[in-house]
Symmetry: C2
Subunit: 323 residues, 2 copies
Amino acid sequence: MRNPTLPRVAVLGLGLVGGSLFQLLHHHGHPVVGYDVDAATRKLVAQHHGGRVCDSICEAVAQAELTVIAVPVWAVGQVIDEIGRADYSGLLTDVVSVKAPIDQLIRQQLPAARWVGGHPMAGSEKTGFVASSATLLADCPWVLCLNQLEQLDDWCDVARHITQLGCRVIPATTVEHDEAVARISHVPHAMAAALTNTAASGAAGALALSIAAGSFRDATRVAAAEPNVVAAWCEANSVAVVSQLDAVIAQLVQLRDALRTGPELAASARDLFSRAQRIRQTWPREAAHTTRVARTVGAIGGVGRAGGWIIQVEQDHVVAALP
Amino acid sequence: MRNPTLPRVAVLGLGLVGGSLFQLLHHHGHPVVGYDVDAATRKLVAQHHGGRVCDSICEAVAQAELTVIAVPVWAVGQVIDEIGRADYSGLLTDVVSVKAPIDQLIRQQLPAARWVGGHPMAGSEKTGFVASSATLLADCPWVLCLNQLEQLDDWCDVARHITQLGCRVIPATTVEHDEAVARISHVPHAMAAALTNTAASGAAGALALSIAAGSFRDATRVAAAEPNVVAAWCEANSVAVVSQLDAVIAQLVQLRDALRTGPELAASARDLFSRAQRIRQTWPREAAHTTRVARTVGAIGGVGRAGGWIIQVEQDHVVAALP
């Protein structure tokens, strides 16, 4: 007998994140069905993992109460189209790393959907179901976008399911999410690429790469990510990425100009390092206390803006952890 | 009875790198003496670790055949001064991450020294003897600077000792070293600081830091490093750091401008990601073959420029590994 509090979930796309979610849901006892556009992936998942694999989106969402879109950003439009043709009426979320373009597709193609944009903050420079695992998403920060009152009940339902998987639900508006992700993921990917190319360039590149050690290894790890995926993120989130690239460039220019003026760094340039150390040494911040929060858009959104997250969703309130 | 092929080594400075070297040398059976300006560190090392600890540089180098300067860049001048006053005549090397300023100090203060500048490529965002360990330097790439014929015999002697510790000796000129280290260490530290500050800035900083995951964690790890140390590296290596910062900034500007022009990234901007992926996926490069190399400045330097390293030093040749 299945636990009636666990909804039937359809995961559309069984790559790194979708595949990991599929396994995590199965591990937690959710009745879960999966779909992937790639027949070989469907076969692999069906043969080796729990949960049911379907041959079409229509079939996958037929019995689902919660459907999760887990395909690359450029494929989302077609998936939404097929969900619409299936007359699906359950909760709908996704795991795509940019939220505004997905919101827009939903408004255009499926305006009546019970839509809550999502983004689990876990990944890898690797791709595909072969790289997925039930542990990838365990305990991760999971953004769920809350923009307006009409979404509140659906948001709380999706948030409850995600908290029950052991993840920290971070409320944010679509705009807040996209700006934050530019800061902590998209721009870091761009910087990793720029650093890798710089290190390797010209006749001096071979020596530089042979002496490169820990700081290069970690700073450039995500430069090995699939370039089309990273380019698609940057394109889909271009306004925020441009703005955050500007902020990074301004600091690097400040440091460069101070070094040119040298020999000693000006205090303002030296302060770049001091500020960064203070921030980085206290990251990640632990939960200092938990608190009951009213079930309103403003109160829940305030938890995210304060650096907190939702750990429990009740009928009349939510429980938040705050740093 | 000590192994007569293992020289008596003095390690001056018992912080992260000096302390790790002290332990590694002891582990390999070298008779090793240590010195640190900090009395509490001397006491800690003397009580808990093998090897002898001295209360002065004069005493530490008295019996040494190889002396290693392992103090921060700003303290090297005074240490060289004390080595000079001790009438030390053995081999002299260091582990400081910038080489041109140290070369200059040696020329000014100790022109007759048997000097071979060195730089083991291993570190941590932590500092001090408490963070050191015999494993930190095991198997690491270890640059030894070879600039001119007069150094060749001393270079080969130091290189033989370092290869016998299990490290890969990478030959480079002082200028080559400083440019390469700007690329793979100093600029990455600057970028980590800029990224950390950008992520945390303003009212949106708390949310960004709470959703930050693996790519932020790795990209900013070294932002937790001691700011005065990083600033001192950049100051001491300002010409190379400025030049490599320019190269990174140019790519970030290219990407930003392409995103502004959007919606689709120009092929040249997209190529930043493709090139970086190709480079990063094949890094670090393994040794493809080993070869005998003539014991000349040109031949040995060519190994480093080709991305290779020295694994063995013999009377009339060296053995190199090449990727």
